[in-house]
Amino acid sequence: MSAVLDTGHFAQRLVRRTPVLAIASGKGGVGKTWFSVTLAHALARAGRRILLFDGDLGLANVDIQLGLAPRLDLAAVVGGRSGMEEAITPYPAGGFDILAGRSGSAGLVALPPEAVDRLARELARTAQAYDTVVLDLGAGVERTAWRLAGASTACLVLCTDEPTSLTDAYAFIKLSLRANPTRDLRVVVNQAASRGDGERTYRIIAKACDSFLKITPPLAGIVRRDRRVHESVRAQSPVLTRHPRTPAAEDVTAIAAEIARELGRDGS
């Protein structure tokens, strides 16, 4: 996976600010929120101070997945009723902090671009108290998610082997690169039937990017399909707490270890 590290851009930006890892998918229903929560948890277990920022402004549900009832959320920050720091909820069971989004708030999706940019700047400032920020982006190619992604250091694009997921992930990569050709984009294949199947899925998206965009986004990792994921989500308890040795948990832990190693090496 050494190709993943081959990005001077990444290292250069690390020096100046806390890395923000955006998690995007293009399409909903590929396990993006679960992956964001589990990645944040795994990074926290690796000893890093983590803020999980629920940027899924239209349909946020990080807090629901974790069974939290935050007093303040992103809507309060955007509405000027709260500062960003005050709206952060600790999540002791996972050892990381959360800034909850807000489910179904049309007002957040319809934010004017300048307001989203303000939010991104405030996030960059708040991030200084953390080692890494995990940014769970909205599903789909939607303007707010887009501008928030622009504020990130690197972006993990999550997909499954479904054609619609592949197509949407490709569209996200294509437009990201159009806006910024040096963007650090990496692919995560989720819900793979096996490692081999996951690699096949990655090769499809890699080949499509190579053919049409003349660029190959590296593979950040493969997460195997695992019924215990579903079980943990239903129990509103993180998979790393309930089943730390289950395949999906091990896969995300491996991705987190790679990221933590890379961030550590870059001296942040």
Binding site: G80, P112, V141, R147, G150, A151, A171, K207, S211
Partner: protein, 334 residues
């Protein structure tokens, strides 16, 4: 990108299907043989026509970033954003403006404002006395003079009372205005004197009460103001000066609402470009917008509030601020 999987008994057949369905530009993403059946499976992709790209472009890159392609909702969005109104309120108004389907930005914004806010001008007559309350320097006295002048010009009788006896020159200022309009004014500190003063003018069409500037954080002063309003049986109307921080304006408006205010008069609108505080206050305290004070002139410096006027004001201050370079350019674009 369109992605398709083709299965056939032989690879050549699958390839032919790819060309037939996706055309000569299709790219073969993978070929494999099914382990069980031996069928050939080809995954192929073709880039969509530029229409899809144009659509995505439109979603992802706001027209403001692309000169020459101005768009209605972005005109409204940019104008609202520059008012400094809370993002959530701005977002709501933008959504309403879009939903209005009006072709003109001013009409679309007016429709949105009409939907979100109540507009209730004071008129030239009222059964209850009207007391203007508000922070010091809000322009209460001059607004009372404007309201009085308007009613007098409409042939109505007006009674003026001030309870602002503490401030140096408070009584004199109102007296001077009253004299200019050709009516009398009375000063009454509180309680019995106020009741007596109101009694003297009880037959007038419009009775206006000036009050001392209120400090929204000083409970004692607020209690005294509440007593005055109660003794007078007056409808408190908030005079809200432009240029406040939106959150401060909101707090003042909420205090006014607790004191019984249901309407506000926006004053000094000509002195600032950003009117977010007005929008935030009216929205946050659920106050109807009654009047817009946009010029210092007594005779025509006040206009009954209406959605279209407010919309024009928001859009105009936006265009008037163009010479301020909007330097916070696209640092958020990826």
């Amino acid at each position: 990108m369109r992605l398709r999987t083709f299965s056939a008994l032989r690879l050549a057949e699958a390839m032919a299907a790819v060309r037939a369905e996706l055309g000569p530009d299709a790219v073969i993403i993978s070929t494999e043989a099914d382990e069980r059946t031996g069928e050939a499976r080809v995954i192929a992709a073709v880039e969509e026509a530029e229409t899809e790209d144009a659509f995505l472009d439109h979603i992802l890159f706001p027209p403001r970033d692309r000169p020459g392609r101005a768009h209605l909702s972005d005109t409204v969005a940019n104008a609202l954003d520059r008012t400094g109104a809370p993002a959530r309120l701005a977002g709501r108004l933008i959504a309403l403006a879009r939903a209005s389907e009006a072709a003109d930005p001013a009409l679309a914004l007016a429709a949105a404002l009409d939907e979100r806010f109540a507009f209730a001008p004071l008129g030239v007559a009222s059964d209850r006395p009207i007391a203007l309350i508000g922070p010091p320097g809000a322009g209460k006295t001059v607004t009372i003079a404007k309201l009085a002048a308007r009613a007098a010009l409409a042939g109505r009788s007006v009674g003026l009372i001030t309870t602002d006896t503490a401030r140096a020159g408070g009584v004199e200022q109102l007296g001077a205005f009253a004299q200019a309009i050709g009516i009398g004014a009375a000063a009454a500190e509180e309680g019995p004197a106020l009741t007596a003063a109101l009694d003297l003018v009880r037959a007038r069409d419009l009775r206006l009460i000036d009050t001392t500037g209120m400090n929204p954080l000083a409970e004692d002063e607020l209690r005294r103001l509440a007593e005055i309003l109660h003794a007078a049986g007056a409808e408190p109307v908030l005079a809200l000066p432009a240029g406040l921080d939106p959150l401060d304006a909101c707090e003042i408006a909420r205090v006014a609402a607790v004191l019984g205010a249901r309407r506000l008069i926006a004053t000094r609108l000509d002195t600032v470009r950003r009117h977010g505080a007005l929008l935030a206050a009216a929205d946050g305290a659920d106050l109807a917008v009654a009047e817009l004070g946009f010029a210092p002139e007594i005779l025509d410096g006040l206009a009954p509030a209406a959605p279209m006027g407010l919309a024009r004001m928001v859009l105009q201050s936006h265009s008037a601020s163009e010479f301020h370079p909007q330097a916070r350019a696209a640092d958020g674009s990826p």
